[in-house]
Amino acid sequence: MSRVRADEEEYWHSSKFRAFTFDDEDDELSQLKESKRAVNSLRDIVDDDDDDLERVSWSGEPVGSISWSIKETASGSTSSLDGRDSSLQKGSSSYAAALPKQASSYSLSSLFKGRNKLSSFQSLSDALTDTGVKNYAPELRRPKAEYKDYSGDWSPKDTVRRMQRGKVCSLERFRSLQDKLVLLDEAVAGHDGNVITAVLIFLKRTLRREILFRELEVRQVALCHLIHFLRETGEQKFLLDLLRTHCFFPLSLQLSQYREHLNIQDVEKRREFLKGCIGLPFSAEDNSHIQDHYTLLERQIIIEANDRHLEMAGQSELFRKYPRKASILNMPLVTTLFYSCFYHYTEAEGMFSSPTNLKKTFKIPDKQYVLTALAARAKLRAWGDVDALLTTKNWLGYTKKKAPIGFHRVVEILQRNNAPVQVLQEYVRLVEDVETRLNLATKYKCHDVVIETYRDLKDRIQLTAYKGKVERGSAEEEKINSILSNTVRNAYS
C-alpha cells in the first residue's frame, strides 16, 4: 500500500483538479469494497461521456452540502482504519479511540489553494480511481457563482447562518476549543437541527471524548441532538459511553439499553441480555417489570423446549388433538398463562409450566387468572374444570358458585366456545341482574332459566307469551303449564 501511496502522492501533486472528482467519490468510499465497486461502475460511465461527471457533483442546497464538506474531512481521518466495515453502524470504540486530534486531512479551501495535505486515505482512493480519472474535466466544479462570496473566513455566527441557508462551509477553520464551542452555541441558537447535527459530527470527530462530554453536559439541546443522531446511526457503544460517563438522563440509559433487546433475535442471547438489564438503575416499578420479563422469558424457553419435545414424541394426546399454532417464546404473560392452562392445567405447582406456578411467580391477580383459565378450559370443552374454577368452598364445607368477573362474562366466554345449553344454563341462572339474565337466557334458549325467572317475577303475561317459544309437548311446556295452573290455584285458594 505504501508504495502505491508514494506514487500516488506525486501523481496527485501533479494534477490539481483531479482532487475534486474523487472528493465526491469519498462520499461513498466509506468501505473499501463499496468504493471499488462504485468507482468501477462510475468508470464505465465516465468513459462514455465527460459531461456525465456532473452527476457526482452537488448542485448545492442545504444540509447535504454541509454534511458533504464535513464528511470530506471526516472520511479523511476515519477511513484510514481497516475493517471500517460497519463502523458507522456499530460505532466500535476503535473508531473513537483512533481519532487523534489530528489536523484535518483537507478542506474545501485547501482544494482551491491546491494544498497537498493528504491523509493516507486520499491516496488509497486515488489508487482505485486512478485509471478512470484522467479525463475528468474541471467543469465538475460547481458554478463559480457559488463560490463568489467564499472567502473562507467566517465567524461562527456567519458560518451557522450560511449552513442554514445551505451554502458550503468548512468547519475546519475552527481549531481552538473556544471557537468550536462558540460554533456549537451558535448552531443551537439557530434551532436548525440539521446544522446542529452537522456541527456535532464535526466536534465528535475533532474533540477528545471527555472534553466533548463535559461540554455537552451544560448544553442540553445539543446533547439531545447528539443522542438522537447516535441512536439513528446505531453507534451503540459511543452512545452508551456517553450516557454512562455522565448520568445525563438516568432513565434514558436504562431504557435505551433495554430497548436493544428487541434487536436480538436469538432467544438465549435475548435472555442473557435481559438478565444484564436487571442490574441497571431503573425505578422500583420498572425494575420489577424488567425482572418479570426476564423470568418469563426464562420460563418460556424451558417450557418451549419441553413441549416441542413432547409434541414431536407424539405421545401426548392433548398435543395431538390440539397442535400448537405458534411458539410460546416472547409472548406476553397472559398469553403464556392461557397456554399453560390449556396444555398443562393439571400439573403440580412445582412445575414451571403449571398455571399455579405462573400465578404465584408473577402475582397474577385472581380476576385475571380465573378469566384466562376459564377461557382455556372452555376452549377444551372441559366443563367440569370450569365448574371447579367457579366453585369455592367456605369453611363450613358448603360450596358456593362465585366468579370474580360477573357471570354474564362467564356465559359470554362459554357461549363463544359453543358450550351446550345445559352448561350455559347453569351460569345464566347465576347472573345477578335480572334484565341481563333474561336477555341472555332468551338469546341462548335457556328455557328453564326464563321460566324460573318469570315465575319469580310473578309475570304471568310474559310466561304465557313465552309458551309460544318452547316446543309443543316438551318438558318446558309442561313446566310452564304447571306453574301457571299453580298460581291460578293459589290465587283462588
Partner: protein
C-alpha cells in the same frame, strides 16, 4: 446498485421531499450508492394547503421530536413556513402564543425578520393575528373520539392527504340485469375536500345531524330529476340537459356519502362504541377519574387493541392531572402483563409527553380549568349547535376555547387558568410599514391564523369553522398545523417501534 449494473446509460436522480436529511445521505453513503445519483436536490415543502382554510406541514414526528426528544427542527421549519406565508400575505401584526414551542417559534420569526430586513414587503396584511398553540397545552382533545362526520371518517378509516380508503361492498355500482357477483375487492378510494358541495356542507356537522341533511338532499335531487317530466319546450329540455352533469355529480356525491354514513352508523350504534364513549364522557365531565375504571380493565382482559386502551388511560390521566401512583401502577401492570413487557418503552414515552403520568403535588387542576373555560356543556344541541361543544357532543375543545376567548374578551380574563396550563403565554407585535396599517371597517371580520404545534384534529378544525361562521363572532379562522392527527395516529407516533430496525 443492481440497476446501475443493468443499465449504465440510465441516470438516477434523487429528490428529497420535504428536505434532505443528514441521516438519509449517510445511509446511502454506507450502501455505497450516494455518488451514483446525478442530482441530489431537496424540494422544500413547508406548509401544504389542504383546503381553502387549512395548511399542514404533515410532519408526523413533530410532536415526538419537540416534546420527547427536545429536537426543535420542526419548529424551525414551522417558522420558515410562516415567513413564507408572510412574504405572500403580508406581515402579521399581532402574534399571540401559549406554550414553550410557541415561544420558540415566535422568537425565531422575529429573529428571521430582523435578519432579512430587505424582505419588508408592501403587501397589505391579510392576517390580523397569529395564534401559536402548543399541542401539550391541550392534551385532552386528541384523545377523545371525534363525533363530527369528517372526524369519524378519520377515526374509523383514516384520512390520508384528503383521501380515504373504504370497504368496497357498499359502493358496488348497481348495474341493471347483473347479479351482485362481481363485488369489487379493491378498497374504494374517495377524495374529500370542500370542492364537493355536499361534503363541505356535512363534514363539520355532528354525525347525528348528518342523516337529516342527507335525506333532505335526496328529496331535492329526486325532485330535480323529476323536472325532466315537466320540461315541455325544447328550451326547457335544453336547460335541463345543461344542468344534468351537475345533478349527476350531486347524485353520485349523495350516494357516496349515504354509503359512508351507513358504514359509520354501523360502528357508532355498536355496543362497544357506546360503552367507550360513555367512559370518555364520564372522564371529561370529571366523574371517577381517580379510580381504576372497570370498563378499561375489562377491555384489557379481553385484549382490545392496545391503542384503544392507551387512549382511555391517557384520557383519564389528563382529566385527573395525573393518576394516583397506585392506579397508574395497576394499569401499567395489567397492560404489560397482557400485551407484553416491551411496551414499557411506550409507557415511558407517554409519561414523558405528559399523557400518562403520576399526579404530582396532589392537586387536580382539571375541574377548575373545566369549569372556568366551560369545557363540559350538558345541554348540547347536536342538530343546531350554538357552541363548539357539539363536536364532541358535550366537550368543548380546550384549544379552540382558548382561541375563542382570545378574540373576545381576551386572555386577561383567564389569566389564572392560563397559568395552570403548561408553558408561557405571550403577545408580540410586528411593525407594519406605515400606510399598511389596517383600519377595520365595521362588520368586517378579523382574520386569525391559528397554528397548532404538534398536531390538530378535524373536530378542532370543525369547531374553528363554526366560530368563523358565527354571526357575531367577529373573527374568521385559518388553521395551520404540523400534522393532521387523530387519537390513534397520535398515540401511534409516540409508541416505540418494536420491530428491529430495517437498516
Amino acid at each position: 446498485r443492481e440497476d446501475r449494473g443493468r443499465s449504465p446509460q440510465r441516470d438516477f436522480h434523487i429528490l428529497f421531499v420535504p428536505r434532505r436529511s443528514l441521516l438519509c445521505e449517510q445511509w446511502l453513503k454506507e450502501q455505497g450508492v450516494l455518488g451514483s445519483f446525478i442530482h441530489r436536490e431537496q424540494y422544500s415543502l413547508d406548509l401544504i394547503p389542504f383546503d381553502g382554510d387549512l395548511l399542514s406541514m404533515e410532519s408526523e414526528s413533530a410532536f415526538k421530536e419537540c416534546y420527547l426528544e427536545s429536537d426543535q427542527t420542526s419548529l424551525y421549519h414551522a417558522a420558515k413556513g410562516l415567513m413564507t406565508l408572510q412574504a405572500l400575505y403580508g406581515t402579521i401584526p399581532q402574534i399571540f402564543g401559549k406554550g414553550d414551542c410557541a415561544r420558540h417559534v415566535a422568537n425565531m420569526m422575529i429573529r428571521m425578520k430582523r435578519e432579512f430586513p430587505g424582505s419588508q414587503n408592501s403587501i397589505f396584511p391579510v392576517f390580523d393575528t397569529l395564534l401559536l398553540l402548543d399541542r401539550n397545552v391541550d392534551l385532552l382533545t386528541p384523545l377523545a373520539t371525534q363525533l363530527t362526520y369528517e372526524g369519524l371518517i378519520d377515526e374509523i378509516y383514516g384520512i390520508q392527504n384528503t383521501y380515504v380508503k373504504l370497504p368496497p361492498e357498499k359502493f358496488a355500482p348497481k348495474k341493471q340485469g347483473e347479479g351482485g357477483k362481481d363485488l369489487p375487492t379493491e378498497p374504494k378510494k374517495l377524495q374529500l375536500n370542500s370542492a364537493e358541495e355536499l361534503y363541505a356542507e356535512i363534514r363539520d356537522k355532528n354525525f347525528n345531524a348528518v342523516g337529516s341533511v342527507l335525506s333532505k338532499k335526496a328529496k331535492i335531487i329526486s325532485a330535480a330529476f323529476e323536472e325532466r317530466h315537466h320540461a315541455k319546450t325544447v328550451g326547457e329540455i335544453k336547460q335541463f340537459v345543461s344542468q344534468l352533469p351537475h345533478m349527476q355529480a350531486a347524485r353520485s356525491s349523495l350516494a357516496n356519502h349515504t354509503s359512508i354514513a351507513e358504514l359509520i352508523k354501523d360502528i357508532t350504534t355498536s355496543e362497544d362504541f357506546f360503552d367507550n364513549l360513555t367512559v370518555e364522557q364520564e372522564f371529561m365531565s370529571g366523574i371517577d377519574t381517580d379510580k381504576v375504571n372497570n370498563y378499561i380493565e375489562d377491555c384489557i382482559a379481553q385484549k382490545h387493541p392496545l391503542i384503544k386502551i392507551l387512549r382511555l388511560v391517557c384520557l383519564q390521566s389528563v382529566c385527573n392531572s395525573g393518576l394516583k401512583q397506585k392506579v397508574l401502577d395497576h394499569y401499567k401492570r395489567e397492560i404489560l402483563q397482557t400485551y407484553g413487557y416491551e411496551h414499557i418503552l411506550t409507557l415511558n414515552n407517554l409519561e414523558k409527553a405528559g399523557l400518562l403520568k403520576p399526579q404530582t403535588g396532589g392537586r387536580n387542576n382539571y375541574p377548575t380549568i373545566r369549569k372556568t373555560l366551560r369545557l363540559w356543556m350538558d345541554d348540547v344541541n347536536e342538530q343546531n349547535p350554538n357552541d363548539i361543544s357539539y363536536v364532541y357532543s358535550g366537550y368543548a375543545p380546550l384549544s379552540v376555547r382558548l382561541a375563542q376567548l382570545l378574540a373576545r374578551p381576551g386572555w386577561r380574563s383567564i389569566e389564572e387558568v392560563l397559568k395552570m396550563l403548561p408553558g408561557p403565554h405571550f403577545e408580540e407585535r410586528q411593525q407594519l410599514p406605515t400606510g399598511l396599517q389596517k383600519k377595520r371597517q365595521h362588520g368586517e371580520n378579523r382574520v386569525t391564523l391559528v397554528f397548532f404545534l404538534g398536531g390538530v384534529t378535524y373536530a378542532e378544525i370543525a369547531a374553528l369553522r363554526f366560530l368563523s361562521q358565527m354571526e357575531d363572532g367577529g373573527t374568521e379562522y385559518i388553521i395551520a398545523t404540523t400534522k393532521l392527527i387523530n387519537g390513534t395516529t397520535w398515540i401511534k407516533s409516540l409508541m416505540e417501534k418494536l420491530e428491529p430496525a430495517p437498516f
